[in-house]
Amino acid sequence: MLFFRSEDLVDTWCEARGIERRPLVTIPQLWELAVAWYSTRLSAEARRPGPDEMRRIFARIGLDDPFWDPQADAFG
């Protein structure tokens, strides 16, 4: 899970490794994920999002590709 300066550099990185490019995430989207995952992490009641909650979080910020599905058969 890395930062990249541009889309072209993501492509170069993937090509060099012979791997498929995955859906890209913008910095504002990444902040939404960071808040959803971690904003309550220091409280005693904190827990990781479950599968349904993960899907809702990803969908809310426009990440609806099966890549983000925590139970996707296509990537299992």
């Binding site: 990249f4 550099l9 993501v10 995430v25 913008t26 904003s39 099966p66 599905d69």
Partner: protein, 146 residues
């Protein structure tokens, strides 16, 4: 509050205040229990995907978003330095601590440095991108690789 939750809370507060992982003996002293009690709790917390331990079973490698070892993703909040497990977790440290932060990282391909200011409401405008190679369904198969 059950014992594992107390251990988890101590782990996270130790990371938050020091930027580093606590040892079982440090937590045993705080919780008035034995180090082996803490190690057993660490094991259960790992099985519940709260912590990731080194092979010795008693050394914390990750308490997401915190990393116990230096990484390319460094977060500075006030005078305190933290290391994140990945780009996502770098923003996650600012979100977890509810503090303004500066994220220092770099481009995964070119190595160009990234300095990103993160306020209480989120990061400054930036056209950098985040890319994750591992699909969500496999994130915990090998969390270090992810």
């Amino acid at each position: 509050m059950d014992f594992d939750t107390r251990v988890k809370e101590k782990v996270y507060h130790h990371f938050a205040s020091t930027g580093s992982a606590p040892t079982p003996s440090q937590l045993a002293q705080q919780l008035s229990c034995s180090s082996s009690d803490v190690r057993e709790a660490f094991g259960r917390l790992q099985r519940n995907r709260v912590l990731l331990l080194e092979r010795d079973g008693g050394t914390i490698r990750m308490a997401p978003p915190f990393s116990a070892i230096p990484t390319p993703h460094r977060v500075v909040i006030g005078q305190q330095e933290y290391f994140a497990n990945c780009a996502w977790d770098a923003l996650g440290i600012a979100a977890a601590l509810h503090r303004a932060a500066v994220v220092h990282s770099s481009c995964g391909q070119s190595g160009a440095p990234l300095r990103l200011e993160v306020g209480l409401d989120g990061p400054e405008p930036s056209d950098w991108l985040f890319h994750c190679q591992v699909p969500a369904v496999r994130w915990w198969v090998d969390l270090v690789f992810t």
